[in-house]
Symmetry: C2
Subunit: 333 residues, 2 copies
DNA sequence: CACGCTTACGGGGGTCGTAACAATG
DNA sequence: CATTGTTACGACCCCCGTAAGCGTG
């Protein structure tokens, strides 16, 4: 036999004397009444407490009466304009103060959360994003909200997408690997072109000044970044659709190193557009697969707006604000 | 200019954003929601919390939602049948637990008060009452309610009546001296006859076997108890109305001593009826002012029933129960 | 008589219960 | 399919605000 709770008790919030021998028709002790009582004892006056609670005297007076009824003992007395607590009131005051402080702390905590004074932001990202794109907005965010603790975790795209529930925001490279939780939303973040870097004097630069299709690169010596590089994986994926497998030649630990190697004629390389600053007299940056180009897209995976933490919402806001100015710029590796 | 609190705000208990820059239309954080949240986190389930709160799931679910809205951050998530708290939820849980414990303590305190497991009983009384009439019912009371701390204070009738507000019960001898607070109620307690003790062979015993009027005692040698004796004051008061002042002769420190002195023929004495146990071959106990006799009345001054502490009510109950059986009996001085 | 606490009374909104839906194992 | 959590909706009652009463300095 399962208890359908108070099925036939219309008494919404009342005596609550289920399976309780207590035949007392007393109203049960409400936390809010304790709050009022704590304030009354602190201020020594019902009217002052009412003022601070933004209600009229009569309301607080009624709360005090209900608390007294719930306790069953008189709690205080007003004589010669001053408040006097009975022993029971004195004792109850301690509990009321404890409750009051707890609620005040909770409210203060909520307030700090809302004002972004406090909070935690758990983000997951790939090493590439963590190295190139996130540091700048992150320091800006921390500068703006110094109280928010940011906890980062890096992992493969598939891994962090699978554990998306554990994070406020997940920064991934597209196309998404793995499956995100059902109602998560994908927000486009950065869309950047991947360019081919070759010597100006090379055959490719001469033959394809307006851009080169990937299939023309077969047999070229390619300067790769390390295996988990985001750009490398994007290019490899593009090659994969063509079933072309360009032989790896050299692995460079940084984009800058790759550029230098390309300048020296050691091979061709793929870099994100933002890495190339200004014109280079010796190097050409060619569009890939013209006219659309090969684009590298970064996206943010987030819970639906209603389920976002304030910190996450603030960070997303900031990213969206500064996504046009492209403030993330070129960060040295 | 005084603030009439929310005069034109019909919003009974709502956003409460008076003079608060916060333009957030969030509901404010209710203590009861914290209680529900604490229970949810403790039990790890909304339905279990609902069971224990004697409400349906939906109600608790709604409370959880309102708390989340009030905080502005998601608090928990339900995945694979288990509860997972977000960082904000984890933090809020601490405050919620504190509040929950405080409220539980307050409720437990109220319960103990109602069951008379705990409490304080502050009583005021005259030394006479404290010596003769109160000890017996008091030990019975303490035996029945061992958890209730009894605090006694003795003083003159006028003094303790004046400070009646400081006590749960005031035991006085009538007629009352001084003025009690306006709405205090007087409960008759003990009504006992004061008898005149004389030698059987004395003239008084011979002339007035059915009782003697006070005016016939003029010139007698009176054996008094000490000045603050209740019986002595009662008799003196009776004498006072007649404007007779019987010369004091001897002061005895105890009722028993007074009786012995009377037996020895040292004078006549006044004692409460209960002090005389059984017949005495040498002594006669004469009614005073027949046929009504001279009565000594004890009364209890108490706040109106609604303002009585549970302990006071219990003690009064017990006294009323055992007032007929006269269980207070004769207590040796 | 100003001030503070209490009581009585009417109205609005919060909260409960019912019911239907979605997700999970 | 049983269990659990959520949403929608209607009804009830708590609580607030207004107003009057009352005691006190």
């Amino acid at each position: 036999m399962d208890i359908t709770p108070d099925s036939h008790s219309r008494d919404g919030r009342g005596t609550s004397k289920i399976a309780d021998g207590e035949a007392s028709d007393l109203p049960d002790l409400q936390p809010s009444h304790l709050l009022a009582f704590a304030l009354i004892t602190e201020l020594g006056s019902v009217s002052l407490a009412a003022r601070r609670l933004h209600v009229v005297q009569a309301a607080v007076s009624a709360q005090l009466r209900r608390l007294r009824e719930a306790v069953g003992d008189p709690l205080c007395r007003f004589e010669q304009g001053h408040l006097h607590l009975t022993p029971a009131g004195e004792e109850l005051r301690k509990h009321a103060l404890r409750v009051s402080e707890g609620v005040a702390a909770a409210r203060e905590f909520a307030r700090r959360l809302q004002r972004r004074i406090e909070g935690r932001l758990r983000i997951a990202l790939t090493v590439t994003i963590g190295s190139y794109y996130l540091p700048c907005p992150l320091v800006a965010f921390q500068d703006r909200y110094p109280g928010i603790r940011v906890e980062m975790e890096t992992g493969s795209s598939r891994e962090i997408v699978g554990r998306a529930e554990d994070f406020d925001l997940v920064f991934v490279e597209e196309p998404l690997e793995g499956s995100a939780p059902p109602d998560y939303v994908r927000t486009p973040w950065i869309r950047e072109e991947i360019l081919l870097v070759v010597q100006r004097k090379s055959r490719l630069a001469r033959d394809f000044p307006a851009g080169v299709a990937l299939r023309h690169l077969q047999g070229e010596k390619v300067l790769w970044r390390e295996a988990d590089s985001g750009v490398r994986r994007a290019v490899e994926r593009a090659f994969g659709t063509l079933r072309i497998e360009p032989p790896g030649h050299t692995e460079l630990p940084s984009a800058q190193g790759l550029i230098e190697a390309a300048r020296a004629g050691l091979g061709i390389g793929f870099v994100a557009a933002s890495v190339l600053s200004g014109e280079d007299p010796e190097l050409a940056a060619l569009r890939i697969n013209p006219p659309e180009g090969l684009w590298w897209r970064l996206a943010i995976l987030a819970p639906p707006p209603a389920q976002r933490s304030a910190a996450a919402a603030a960070f997303l806001d900031q990213l969206q604000q500064s996504s046009d100015p492209m403030a993330h710029g070129d960060v040295p590796v």
